[in-house]
């Protein structure tokens, strides 16, 4: 298709001028590879989660979650056996698993962000926060790819958390001013209140480190 605006001089000028638009710096190869390798290493247990492990996880979770999520496993409140053998079907089991995982994840993230803000009030940003943010970021993305994100409200919350965690994970050790900006954004978008309201009341389920 020949466009009436085509002009070789303009096109060349455009190409030359555009080189300065978002001009990238040299690729931080080793830094990026270290992050990729670390994330791949951490994601292996997730991929290797076997069906029996899911069943065990679901059954154990039922014992600790109690009445708050009983309806998830009982399929309408007809009573779940505490030994976990009365799980109605695979779908219910899967929903329960993701519900447990989401609750755990939200609790951990809430604790992390609260700690991050508290640390910042003391005028410092501990390097451990960037590492923890990366861990939580990986989990956030797994949650976004899971059926847990079918819930529109949870998905929006996860997307907000993903952005906050990306920013924290990129913080430099002396980045107190950047961290201030992150907490200001968190305040304006009400991330923490939304996070807290998304966590079901009652006991936090036992921790299954590495389950997700």
């Amino acid at each position: 298709m020949i466009d009436q605006h085509e002009d070789p001089r303009f096109e060349q000028w455009l190409k030359d001028a555009a080189q300065s638009y978002h001009a990238p710096r040299p690729t931080p190869r080793d830094e990026l590879w270290a992050r990729i390798a670390e994330r791949r290493r951490r994601s292996v247990p997730v991929l290797a989660l076997r069906p029996w492990a899911r069943w065990a996880l679901a059954a154990a979770a039922m014992l600790v979650l109690g009445i708050g999520i009983g309806r998830w496993s009982a399929g309408g409140g007809d009573g779940a056996s505490p030994n976990g053998t009365a799980v109605a079907n695979d779908t219910t089991n899967r929903d329960l698993l993701y519900h447990v995982a989401a609750t755990q994840y939200l609790s951990r993230t809430e604790a992390f962000l609260t700690g991050f803000r508290a640390d910042l009030r003391d005028g410092q940003v501990s390097p451990r926060f960037t590492g923890q943010a990366r861990d939580l970021l990986s989990t956030t993305r797994l949650m976004l790819d899971s059926p847990a994100a079918d819930d529109a409200r949870l998905r929006l919350l996860l997307q907000d958390l993903e952005l906050v965690l990306v920013q924290i994970s990129q913080l430099q050790s002396n980045g107190v001013s950047d961290a201030d900006l992150i907490t200001q954004r968190m305040d304006r978008s009400n991330v923490l209140p939304k996070l807290r309201s998304a966590i079901p009341a009652g006991p936090v389920p036992v921790r299954f480190e590495g389950a997700l």
């Binding site: 298709m1 466009d3 605006h5 085509e6 002009d7 001089r9 303009f10 096109e11 060349q12 000028w13 455009l14 190409k15 001028a17 555009a18 080189q19 300065s20 638009y21 978002h22 990238p24 710096r25 690729t27 931080p28 190869r29 830094e31 990026l32 590879w33 992050r35 990729i36 390798a37 994330r39 791949r40 994601s43 991929l47 993305r141 997307q159 907000d160 993903e162 952005l163 990306v166 920013q167 990129q170 954004r185 304006r188 978008s189």
Partner: protein, 180 residues
């Protein structure tokens, strides 16, 4: 080692081969991510996500196209989806900012060519902007762009032509720059 052999070794869990595959493609992936995102942290994040997905899906790569083509498809998907999320987040923040800044009228000096140029590119529709940056800035062919974006080659050409036309109008004040 040719590409098929490299892929075979990565699938078999060879870490050295994985690094070699990464080294062979990371520059183009990162450059494209940076051009589209305009932010180093985002570009790094998108590059990381691209390779994580590529490694996890490598078993599904059938070799119908070049590995680079397949990788660029993942890159554009990751970057464009990621930028939509960021845009949504910023839009909500901007709404909050506006709500708290009623009556404040920012003053702005006359922007120079570089600023106007950047704004004109930013203002392009997503499809036009992506094709323009891939073709005119990063040197991708229309065939590569079509494969990466899942559109016909003709569509890529048409979008580039429209992008240039829009830029020409937006930058008409600077016509002397290219007419001489």
């Amino acid at each position: 080692m040719d590409e098929r052999e490299l892929i075979h070794r990565v699938r078999a869990g060879d870490g050295v081969a994985a690094r070699a595959l990464y080294d062979a493609h990371v520059d183009r992936v990162y450059r494209l991510a940076y051009r589209l995102a305009g932010d180093d942290a985002l570009a790094q994040d998108f590059t990381q996500e691209t390779f994580i997905r590529a490694f996890s899906k490598l078993d599904s790569f059938r070799g119908d196209s070049a590995l680079s083509t397949w990788l660029h498809t993942i890159t554009t998907t990751v970057v464009l989806n990621g930028l939509r999320k960021v845009k949504r987040f910023h839009t909500r923040e901007a709404d909050l900012d506006e709500a708290g800044a009623v009556g404040v009228t920012p003053r702005e000096s006359e922007p120079d060519l570089k600023t106007r140029f950047a704004r004109a590119i930013d203002a392009l529709p997503e499809g036009y902007r992506t094709v323009f940056l891939m073709h005119d800035v990063e040197g991708y062919t229309h065939e590569e762009i079509g494969a990466a974006l899942g559109v016909e080659t003709g569509t890529s050409k048409a979008q580039l032509s429209r992008a240039r036309a829009k830029l020409r109008v937006a930058l008409a004040d600077f016509a002397g720059e290219w007419a001489t």
